[in-house]
Structure formats: structure tokens, C-alpha cells
């Protein structure tokens, strides 16, 4: 009878109830659409980061804080044995999608071809191209851009690599690489960026190196100068197969990717070839805590001087974006809660006022105060439930329409426009949380009027006109 009465009372003043439920629906719609948008953003960002850098990275202790400035000093000893141990571990085996070594390298890149003499500092990374390609196909959330094979780093023994658009621009390689939207300087720079002028002797050495090794496939060639682990200068040549634009300008202006062997040759020369990192890409992001704990346990068991960092530590930008959007979502939710709160309080107060005599009647017939309170709370809850359910349906329709509209945009962390999509709000925390949250708010909003109804004196209520 409680729910029958509540439903019929809601339908008594249809226009008012529809308006109130519509406000609740708008609240649900706004929250679910924004939630779908943030879910899509988070999934897209995470996918991009995990495709490039995996979920976890194992470094020599201290590398994360101090190593990037001097990667040669932070090589992992016998990395092949370490990787074998990880690969053979029963816990990790089922979780790992790709495990690959990387070598960081810093130095000076120079272009001395065709009368050009330009150099700048670079931050490079040596990769196993085949592993990188497998990592680029990771798409747990269905948020990846369509996979396009890239074989520019596929030959492990070649000296072929890619550079950032900024590096290409500053080394005067835009024209040879046919890079669009990449201006060449009017006057050819002798030095650029923060790099110190290349010592004439080293420049001559680089020119000799360039002359002795003809470029393959007509690709422009640059020279990479770095200090080996022993402190001696070392130079290798890199055939630039193309550019790989980075989303952060500072990185784009310094980025050089090359085969692992070439990076190792540059950093270690004829010494033992080590790596600075072992990157692990897992099948599922949810496995990160378990995998990390297992890695740390194995490192501790073997007394290895290694540390483990996850993709969030390696990409604080991601954590900041998640934090920012979560804060905006919270702010939006608070506004919606306030709107729903005031709408339901207003509607229920009107209902109580209009039905004062009725409240007196049922109390005189023997209905307890608590039952009167429950009746109005049930009406508030039902208004919330109708509105929230309507909002969920509207959100699914809106998402379907938006996803089929063909909108394009450039999200944070991307360099090119991609289709604007909203993730289906299937996460229980979002869908159920929004629905339950709004129903709860509507129920709580009905509490003050319900209390007022329950506390009214019967004789006063019966006299009410």
C-alpha cells in the first residue's frame, strides 16, 4: 500500500512531478555524459601511455630520480638474466603481454650534410622495434586509434630511427623529410637549442663519420654524440626514417628513437652492453599492483639493486589529468545535487502542504508518525528513481547519437585530431553510483517535508483547508 499510495500521490500533480523528475533526469544525464567523457579521456590517455611505455618499468636503483641525466651510469647488469627470471615467473607469466629492454641516451645531435651544420642536445631512447610494434597494438579499453604498422625501427641491427618534429626543425631536416607544418630557418643556424657549440674537432669527426657511411634509402643522416660509461666521447650515425611527433614540446624538441643496439653502442661502446630499463606491458591494467608487488618481491629475494615504477609515476601528467577531471566531475556532481535537492524539497513541501488534511485523516485512522514519514520519503525516492532512470535512458541515447555524429577533436596527449567518442557508462561506479546517488539525494531532500508531515498535530492537520 505504501508504494501504491506513493506512486498515485506522485501522479496526482503530474506537471509538478514531471518537472521535478525532469530536473533529476537532467542531473543524471549531465553526470553520465561527463562521466562517459572522462572515462573516454582516461582510457585514451592510458592506452597511449601504455602503448608507448608499458605498465611497469624496472630500473637500476636511483635511475628514476637521477639516471636520466647520466643513463650510462645506471645500466642494469645482466639484464637478459633478469628478464628471463621475470618471464619464467609463474605469477608474472600470465600477466605479461610484452617485456622489452630500453636504453636511454643523452647527447648532442648534429646535421652536417648538404652544407648544413646544425646541432642540438637530444634525449634518446633505444628500443626493440618488434616489441614496440606489439606494444602499440595493446587496446584493453577499445580506445586506441586504428593500428597502423610502423617498420621504421623494425631492423634491430640497422642504424635507422625517428626523431621529434622539433629536432627535425632545429636540425634543418624538415625539407628532406617532407614534414608539413615544419618551417626551415631563414638563416641556417650554426648552433641551436641549449646545446653548446660543437667542438670543431668533433664536428670534423662527425663529418668524416658521415662521409664514410653512405645513407640508406636516401634518408637524411644525423650524428649522435654522447659520452660512454667510461666518459669517453662516442659518435654514431642515425638514418632518419621520419618523425614521431611528441605531445610535449620540450620532449618533441629533444626526441630521438633508435634501435636498442645502436643506443647501446653509443652509450657503452665496446664495453658490456647494458640497458637502463626493462619495460613490462601487461594484458590488463588491473594487474599492475599484483605484478608490481611480485617484481619487488623477486628483486628483494635476489638482492638486485633495482627499482620498479608504474606508468602513473612515469607520467605524472596522466595523474594530473585524472585529478583535474575528477575534480570537475565532483564539482558538477555537487551542482547537480544542489539542483535536485532544492527541486525535490520544493515539490515535497508543496505536496505536504496540499495534503495536510489528508495527513490528519490517516493519522486519526491510526497511521503512526513513522509511517507518514515513510510515505513521503517513498514519494521522494520514487521521484528520484523515475528521474534518474529517465536520465540513464537519455544518456545512452545521447551517447549513441554523439558517437555516430562523426565529431573530431584533439584530446590532451594527442597530436592529431581523432573521432570524438564517449565511453558507454557501463562502469558500476558511474552508472549505479549516479542512479543511486540521485535517488538518495531525492530521498534525503524529502526528509524535512516528511518530518514536518509526521510531526503535525492531528487536530491542526484536520482543520487545515
Amino acid at each position: 500500500m505504501l508504494f501504491r499510495l506513493a506512486i498515485r500521490n506522485i501522479s496526482r500533480n503530474r506537471r509538478r512531478s514531471i518537472m521535478t523528475a525532469s530536473l533529476v533526469a537532467m542531473g543524471a544525464l549531465a553526470l553520465l555524459l561527463f562521466g562517459a567523457f572522462t572515462t573516454y579521456i582516461f582510457a585514451g590517455l592510458e592506452t597511449g601511455l601504455v602503448q608507448r611505455g608499458g605498465h611497469l618499468a624496472v630500473y637500476r636503483q636511483g635511475y628514476f630520480l637521477f639516471g636520466p641525466g647520466n643513463p650510462a651510469a645506471y645500466g642494469i647488469d645482466d639484464h637478459a638474466a633478469v628478464m628471463r627470471a621475470f618471464q619464467d615467473d609463474t605469477v608474472l607469466k600470465g600477466m605479461i603481454n610484452v617485456m622489452t629492454p630500453t636504453q636511454a641516451v643523452v647527447g648532442i645531435a648534429g646535421n652536417f650534410s648538404g652544407g648544413i651544420s646544425a646541432s642540438k642536445t637530444f634525449f634518446g631512447v633505444g628500443l626493440v622495434g618488434a616489441d614496440l610494434e606489439r606494444m602499440r597494438q595493446w587496446d584493453e579499453h577499445g580506445a586506441a586509434r586504428p593500428y597502423v604498422p610502423d617498420d621504421r625501427l623494425s631492423d634491430p641491427n640497422a642504424s635507422r630511427g625517428v626523431i621529434g618534429r622539433g629536432v627535425a626543425r632545429m636540425l634543418g631536416l624538415c625539407e628532406p623529410l617532407h614534414v608539413s607544418n615544419c618551417p626551415s630557418p631563414e638563416h641556417q643556424p650554426q648552433v641551436s637549442g641549449a646545446a653548446a657549440p660543437l667542438d670543431p674537432a668533433l664536428a670534423d669527426l662527425a663529418k668524416e663519420d658521415l662521409a664514410s657511411q653512405p645513407a640508406t634509402n636516401g634518408a637524411p643522416r644525423i650524428d649522435l654524440l654522447s659520452a660512454t660509461a667510461n666518459g669517453a666521447p662516442n659518435i654514431v650515425s642515425l638514418d632518419v626514417a621520419g618523425i614521431d611527433t611528441q605531445t610535449v614540446k620540450e620532449l618533441d624538441d629533444n626526441y630521438v628513437a633508435m634501435p636498442l643496439a645502436l643506443a647501446q653502442q653509443l652509450v657503452y661502446g665496446r664495453s658490456e652492453h647494458k640497458v637502463t630499463g626493462i619495460v613490462l606491458q601487461l594484458h590488463h591494467t588491473a594487474d599492475v599492483p599484483v605484478a608490481r608487488a611480485r617484481l619487488l618481491a623477486m628483486i628483494a629475494e635476489r638482492h638486485l639493486p633495482l627499482e620498479v615504477r608504474d606508468y602513473k609515476e612515469l607520467n605524472p601528467f596522466f595523474v594530473q589529468v585524472v585529478g583535474l577531471f575528477s575534480l570537475i566531475f565532483l564539482f558538477l556532481a555537487l551542482i547537480m545535487v544542489m539542483i535536485v535537492l532544492f527541486a525535490v524539497v520544493n515539490t515535497m513541501t508543496m505536496n505536504v502542504l496540499e495534503r495536510t488534511a489528508e495527513i490528519g485523516t490517516i493519522r486519526a485512522m491510526g497511521v503512526r508518525r513513522a509511517s507518514v514519514r515513510r510515505l513521503f520519503l517513498a514519494e521522494g525516492a520514487m521521484l528520484g528513481a523515475f528521474g534518474a532512470s529517465l536520465g540513464v535512458v537519455m544518456a545512452f541515447i545521447a551517447i549513441a547519437l554523439i558517437n555516430h555524429a562523426g565529431f573530431q577533436w584533439t584530446p590532451p596527449g594527442n597530436t592529431d585530431a581523432i573521432p570524438f567518442q564517449l565511453a558507454w557508462p557501463t562502469r558500476p561506479a558511474l552508472l549505479v553510483g549516479t542512479w543511486l546517488g540521485l535517488v538518495l539525494v531525492a530521498t534525503l531532500a524529502a526528509l524535512p517535508p516528511a518530518n514536518r508531515a509526521a510531526k503535525s498535530r492531528i487536530v491542526d492537520a484536520l482543520r487545515h483547508v
Partner: protein, 228 residues
């Protein structure tokens, strides 16, 4: 007759009720003592503002006196908690209001059924008793209609059925014919008399309708809050 059958169904002992409006005190009922016997048509009569409704409300356990004692069916109702008093009303007291006070969103059947729901009567018995009561007041064909689809007389018949369906010890009726035309009012008085005799219930009215007063088995005249 057993002692229980002859014992008063309502007993008021030096009951007084004062209303306060700011610093002004208005005595509505002054030191009234009375006994109402079971299975009778009792009238509380008097001019407007004499305290009839206040007295009826206190007998019906929906208002509390400032002093004195009230017993209904031998129970000192002033000792009961709010919940116990609500349960007591649900079991023992039926109301017929001047303005009918039916619940507009419920059908005639549901309005009559409502008091039985409060007493947790099983569904089958609830349905049987509700239909029987609607038939007794001549509204079996209007069972599905809502109050706004009924005439004033029909609404009051539903209200009478609602008051009687739980077979209470006392039915209180506050000016039950005031909102009805003379023909309908007479019909309602006749119906209530029939129902009172059929259900062996005590009816207590507050009224100044002479047709209703003519039916009284027991009359209490009240003026300025005192029995006269």
C-alpha cells in the same frame, strides 16, 4: 447483560482543555465528566464554538486534555505512547468527517480497505470484509470509483463503510450531515442508524442538525465548554 456489555465505552472524568493564542487562554472544555454507553447513538449538541468538536477529538484520542482522565473501552488513553495511541485508534475508533476526508488517490474499495491494512488483516479476509461493507452501504457497484467520481452522499457512505469495516468500539462523527442536502442527509442518518444496530457499535456525534438529534439515544448539551 455482562458487566463488560454494560460498562461505559467512554468515560470522561473532569476533563478540561484550554487553547492558547499568544498570551490569551481560551477554555474550550471545562471540567466535563460523562459516560457513554455501548451500542447507543450519542449526541454532543450545542451551538458553534461551544466545544463539541474539542470534546469529540479528545474522546477520539486525537487531542489531549490539559487535565482530567479519559477512558475508552476501559483503557486510560492518556497513559499511552504516541505509537500505542495510534494503534489504539486503528483498532477501536472509526471516524466520519464532515468533509468526508476520503483519500483522493484511492478507489472506494481501497478507501474502505485501508483501515484493515493498518490492522494487518490477511488479503482474502480484507477483500471479503471490504466488499461486504460496500454492499452494506449500497456502493458495491461504485467500488472502483475514486472519490472525485462520487456524489457527496456516496462519499459519506464510503466514509461510513471505512469507519465501520474494522468493527470498532466507537464511531465518531463530526457534523456528518453538514455538507449534505436534506434528502441525502436524512438518508445518511438512516444508514448510520441501521449500521449502528447491525454492527452493535457506539456512534458519538457532534451536531446541531435537529434531524440527527431526533435519533439520539443519549444527548449531551454543551455550552461555553460546559455540560448543561
Amino acid at each position: 447483560m455482562s458487566e463488560q456489555a454494560t460498562a461505559p465505552v467512554v468515560r470522561l472524568d473532569h476533563v478540561a482543555r484550554v487553547y492558547h493564542a499568544g498570551s490569551i487562554s481560551i477554555p474550550a472544555v471545562r471540567d466535563i465528566s460523562l459516560e457513554i454507553h455501548p451500542r447507543v447513538f450519542s449526541m454532543i449538541v450545542g451551538p458553534s464554538g461551544s466545544g463539541k468538536t474539542t470534546l469529540l477529538n479528545m474522546i477520539g484520542c486525537i487531542d489531549v486534555p490539559d487535565s482530567g482522565q479519559i477512558e475508552v473501552r476501559g483503557e486510560n488513553v492518556l497513559r499511552l505512547s504516541d505509537n500505542a495511541l495510534a494503534d489504539f485508534r486503528a483498532r477501536n475508533i472509526g471516524y466520519v468527517f464532515q468533509s468526508f476526508n476520503l483519500i483522493p488517490v484511492l478507489s472506494a474499495f481501497e478507501n474502505v480497505e485501508y483501515p484493515l491494512l493498518l490492522l494487518n488483516v490477511p488479503p482474502a479476509e480484507r477483500r471479503r470484509r471490504t466488499l461486504a461493507m460496500l454492499e452494506a452501504v449500497g456502493l458495491e457497484t461504485q467500488a472502483k470509483q475514486r472519490p472525485n467520481e462520487l456524489s457527496g452522499g456516496q462519499k459519506q457512505r464510503v466514509a461510513i463503510a471505512r469507519a465501520l469495516v474494522k468493527e470498532p468500539a466507537v464511531v465518531l462523527a463530526d457534523e456528518p450531515t453538514a455538507n449534505l442536502d436534506s434528502v441525502t442527509g436524512t438518508a445518511i442518518i438512516t444508514l448510520m442508524r441501521q449500521m449502528q444496530e447491525s454492527f452493535h457499535t457506539s456512534f458519538i456525534f457532534s451536531t446541531h442538525d435537529p434531524r440527527l438529534m431526533a435519533e439520539a439515544d443519549q444527548t449531551f448539551s454543551i455550552r461555553d465548554g460546559m455540560l448543561v
